[in-house]
């Protein structure tokens, strides 16, 4: 269902607070679009596999130090499980991850592309 290569402009980057997120509808799928403090934009599925609710865009964004690496994450607003913004990997449960999407910012617009292959 994900339209490969088809980039969808969802909003201006100003619509997203630094360390905040918005939900966007991309090819029928709910995507959490999250901007970090250093203005990097990430996109992952908005669906929280733990609570079965579409809420990740509403979570708190922060960093967690893992093996010396500062990992940017969003914590589900439901029960606080953290997801690596870069990979969608859940930091509290190895077995769980959420899909991520291609994303780029062009002329102040945030564009979401296709779903990334799970690694």
């Amino acid at each position: 269902m994900s339209g490969e290569g088809e980039w969808v402009a969802v909003c201006g980057i100003d619509r997203i607070d630094p360390e905040g997120g918005v939900a966007a509808l991309v090819h029928g799928e709910a995507v959490a679009v999250i901007r970090t403090y250093d203005d990097v934009v990430y996109a992952l599925s908005n669906y929280d596999p733990f609570s079965h609710a579409s809420v990740l865009a509403r979570g708190i964004v922060g960093t967690r130090t893992l093996d010396g690496d500062e990992v940017p994450f969003v914590a589900s607003p439901m029960h606080k499980q953290a997801f690596d913004l870069r990979t969608g990997q859940c930091l509290d449960d190895e077995a769980v991850s959420v899909p991520t999407y291609e994303v780029r910012v062009s002329e102040g617009q945030v564009l979401i592309g296709g779903r990334r292959e799970a690694t």
Binding site: E19, A23, A24, A53, S54, I60, T63, R64, K80
Partner: protein, 848 residues
């Protein structure tokens, strides 16, 4: 068997109480109803602390909250004496004429003071020292008296002498034996104690026989001893105790040579349905005049009734007490009666110290082991020495160091896990470590979980030491930092923000933290900024710090929808507002429920509907109830004087005033309050963070109550306050809490964690000993002045409103994951199984 059986407990003293407590805790009440018959006019109290009655009053001694057990299967009678036991019929006759049947009978009748048969012992002005009523009578008689005599220089006699001194009497102690406390102390210890006691102005007569209590006109005038007369207006007999075993004797049960109901190792008498515990029992032929063995008997009996095999063998007769400010302790084989025992004595007549260790060769042939000891003048080593007696530990190389004055620090000298640390409650070191491993993070929590330290308090320093050493061993420096980003406690963070005047998370994390924060520190900093600086929680730089509920000013529900709770101050609401709420709920299809907090919750709102819902509510005169915030929730009220025929003050008006005053206050955790119009307490104020109860003269203020996971009754902070003082105390209390509590720490655990607990709060709030009062009040005044309704302000700000959309590029498309079904004519969430793909063709936002 379907019929419920019954246990009848005779005597509601310390041990009877412990029996019932253990029976409830261990589930005995699942099969038995319990009836307790107590002769005293009140429910069980702390007899060990009896003397503090003069200082603190009877309430402080009570062992039961509100005079009842939380378990409805326990029936408690006071002021009723059991007069006869019929073993064949299994019934007990009571002084009120009733007769009750039992399946199991527990005798817990304690003991009575022994009054030697001297002439004149019935004169007015003669007393014993056992119950609160005895003390009331002694106090009354002392008002007119100037001299008092205590007959008996044992542990209880000295305690009574202490009381007479406190009551302002010139006090004599008369002891038959050649030294004081003959049962616990040797000559050296007795002499050291004597010196202390005489130094305090008491007159001690040892080797002295009382021949007669001399009287005139039916009143005591003095005491005639073999060696001469002493004048006295008050005489207190404290010449030992006798077990109250009359009921058992009369029923034909065996009693010991020196009295006491004969029982086996499970505390069962000859009759298999009858048990005896505490001071009235004589397990192994011995009566124990201490509470700890009684507690053990209570536990053993409950265990036996449950089919367990616990045994009461012999009890530790160790004692430690503070008599007239003199430390005295005696433990183990204090008189060195064990063959081969040696004594190590340290005596310092000038310093008034006498310390003796009784030791013997260790069975392993290596070093020495401790058998017992006596400490007078400084008993700080007791806490660590006594457990060493029970364990088989070899003493350190130079055991005298344990009693030399330098060795004051509490040392646990590597106690083994089986060593008993708290003798009152039989808690081992192992049990304390288990509690820390199970999540206790400080000694106070260990005391709550294991009871260690909750009775006489002697073992508290050792408990604390064990807990701290254990953490240190695990390299866990009792870490109270907030999270990986801040090496600070919440309180330290509060101070840092106040001192530097920070107004944003970025400033705080750059100066004092690392990384970009997380879901622990961000809401905590947001809360601190909100209390100190104000500003809207959804302002720029603020909203991304908030937990989800605050971020959308509503409570997130399981399916991603929200609930909405308008404020209903004091629970009072007009029909118009009720109708408005009803209409909103109907028009938006919201599930509606009356909450436990006297207001109305509407569930199932989609995030994008929240502004429209609130537009309607605000127009109808309502404002946010902050059900989503760590903030003041509700001030529950009763209807009070305005309607209720019992009310003595206008509780509803006060509740409304308080709710409006503190609304919006961001705090470490949520804050709930209540105001009741009289002592009937319909508003349940004593289960709240702060509770106010009307009196004839004003308001009583209670603080630090909690419902929830760990219910705690609020404690009385101040009485009969006028409204202005009341409000200033609440201002101070809340601000002090906001400043110093941990993140997500309710007021009850916060007060418990303060050094000094409620007393500390009283010092700061009532006595203003830190001089913080006006500062705390000013901070609250700022909060009150700056308050704005968060929802109204949001509705007026397009930038804030822009966030309330389902999808940033499709604001009108509802989240298809949120689905509902119907139950009992209302909406309820339906579970979704996986991400839902929205099939409709959607126009996506084109670049502008």
């Amino acid at each position: 068997m379907t019929h419920r059986q019954r246990i009848v407990v005779l005597g509601h003293g310390m041990v009877g109480h412990r029996f019932v407590q253990a029976a409830c805790e261990r589930g005995l009440t699942e099969t038995y109803d319990i009836v307790v018959v107590g002769e005293e006019p009140r429910t069980a109290y702390d007899r060990v602390g009896l003397t503090s009655f003069f200082e603190k009053g009877a309430d402080a001694l009570a062992l039961l909250v509100d005079d009842t057990y939380p378990d409805p299967r326990v029936r408690l009678m006071t002021g009723v004496e059991a007069t006869d036991v019929d073993l064949a019929e299994r019934t007990v006759a009571l002084s009120d004429g009733e007769s009750i049947g039992y399946d199991q009978l527990v005798l817990a009748t304690g003991s009575a003071p022994f009054v030697p048969p001297v002439p004149g012992r019935d004169l007015e002005g003669c007393f014993v020292y056992r119950t609160i009523e005895d003390l009331e009578r002694i106090r009354e008689a002392s008002r007119e008296a100037s001299t008092g005599v205590v007959i008996g220089g044992g542990l209880l006699g000295l305690e009574a002498a202490n009381a007479l001194v406190q009551l302002g009497l010139d006090t004599h102690v008369v002891e038959m034996a050649p030294r004081l406390m003959p049962a616990q102390l040797d000559d050296g210890g007795g002499t050291a104690l004597l010196r202390h006691i005489e130094g305090l102005g008491l007159h001690v007569h040892t080797d002295a026989r009382t021949e007669e209590v001399v009287g005139a006109e039916g009143r005591v005038r003095g005491l005639r001893l073999a060696e001469g007369e002493i004048e006295a207006d008050v005489v207190v007999f404290s010449a030992g105790i006798r077990p109250r075993d009359q009921l058992a004797r009369a029923a034909g049960l065996a009693v010991g040579e020196r009295g006491g109901v004969v029982v086996d190792h499970q505390c069962r008498t000859e009759d298999e349905h009858v048990w005896a515990i505490g001071e009235c029992a004589a397990p192994g032929g011995i009566c124990y005049g201490l509470v700890a063995p009684g507690y053990t008997m209570a536990e053993v009996t409950v265990d036996a009734m449950l089919g367990g095999e616990g045994r009461f063998d012999e009890a530790d007769m160790s004692t430690k007490l503070k008599l007239l400010d003199v430390d005295v302790a005696s433990f183990g084989d204090a008189f060195a009666t064990t063959p081969g025992a040696l004594e190590l004595v340290f005596a310092d007549a000038v310093g008034g110290l006498y310390k003796k260790l009784v030791v013997a060769d260790h069975p392993s042939g290596q070093g020495l082991r401790l058998l017992g000891g006596i400490l007078v003048g400084d008993a700080s080593a007791y806490g660590s020495l006594r457990p060493m007696v029970a364990s088989d530990l070899a003493l350190p190389e130079n055991p005298e160091e344990l009693i030399l004055p330098a060795g004051r620090a509490v040392a646990d000298v590597g106690l083994p896990d089986e060593a008993q640390v708290c003798s009152c409650n039989d808690v081992t070191k192992g049990a304390i470590l288990a509690a820390t491993d199970a999540g206790c993070e400080d000694a106070a929590c260990v005391t709550r979980c294991t009871r260690a330290g909750s009775t006489c308090g002697t073992c508290k320093p050792l408990v604390k030491k064990i807990v701290e050493d254990h953490f240190a061993e695990q390299g866990k420096q009792v870490d109270r930092s907030l999270c990986e980003h801040f090496p600070l406690t919440r309180q330290e963070l509060w101070d840092v923000v106040a001192v530097h005047g920070y107004t944003s998370f970025d400033e705080v994390v750059e100066a004092h933290g690392s990384g970009r924060g997380c879901d622990l520190c961000k809401p905590a900093v947001a809360s601190i900024l909100a209390t100190q600086v104000g500003q809207h929680v959804l302002g720029r730089g603020r909203r991304t710090l908030q937990d989800t509920n605050d971020a959308y000013l509503a409570n997130l529900q399981r399916n991603g929808s929200y609930s909405v709770v308008p404020r209903v101050p004091g629970g009072e609401i007009t029909p118009e507002k009720l109708i408005a709420i009803g209409e909103v709920a109907r028009d938006f299809g919201l599930y509606t429920k009356i909450t436990g907090g006297q207001r109305i919750d509407m569930f199932g709102a989609r995030m994008e509907q929240l502004p429209a819902i609130w537009r309607r509510l605000v127009d109808a005169g309502m404002e946010s109830g902050q059900a989503y915030g760590k903030a003041l929730r509700t001030v529950k009220s009763c209807v009070g004087q305005s309607w209720c025929r019992y009310g003595v003050q206008d509780s509803t008006s006060l509740a409304i005033e308080l709710e409006l005053r503190y609304r919006g206050l961001r705090s470490p955790h949520k804050v709930k309050a209540g105001v009741s119009g009289c002592a009937r307490e319909c508003a349940e104020a004593r289960s709240k963070d702060f509770g106010v109860i009307a009196t004839e003269k004003g308001w009583n203020l209670y603080v630090a109550g909690n419902g929830g996971y760990n219910p705690v009754h609020a404690q009385l902070l101040a009485q009969d306050l006028d409204k202005q003082t009341l409000i200033s105390y609440i201002d101070r209390f809340l601000m002090y809490y906001c400043r110093t509590a941990d993140r997500l720490q309710r007021t009850a655990p916060w007060v418990a964690s303060l050094d000094g607990g409620l007393e500390r709060v009283r010092e700061v709030v009532v006595d203003d000993s830190l001089g913080l009062g006006s500062e705390l009040e000013a901070a609250m005044a700022r909060h009150v002045g700056d308050y704005v309704d968060e929802w109204q302000a949001t509705l007026e700000d397009p930038e804030k409103l822009a966030r309330f959309v389902s999808f940033v590029n499709a604001p009108d498309v509802p989240d298809a994951n949120i689905t509902f079904t119907q139950e009992r004519d209302q909406t309820t969430p339906a579970d979704s199984e996986g991400p839902v793909v929205i099939a409709a063709e959607i126009s996506v936002g084109a670049p502008q």
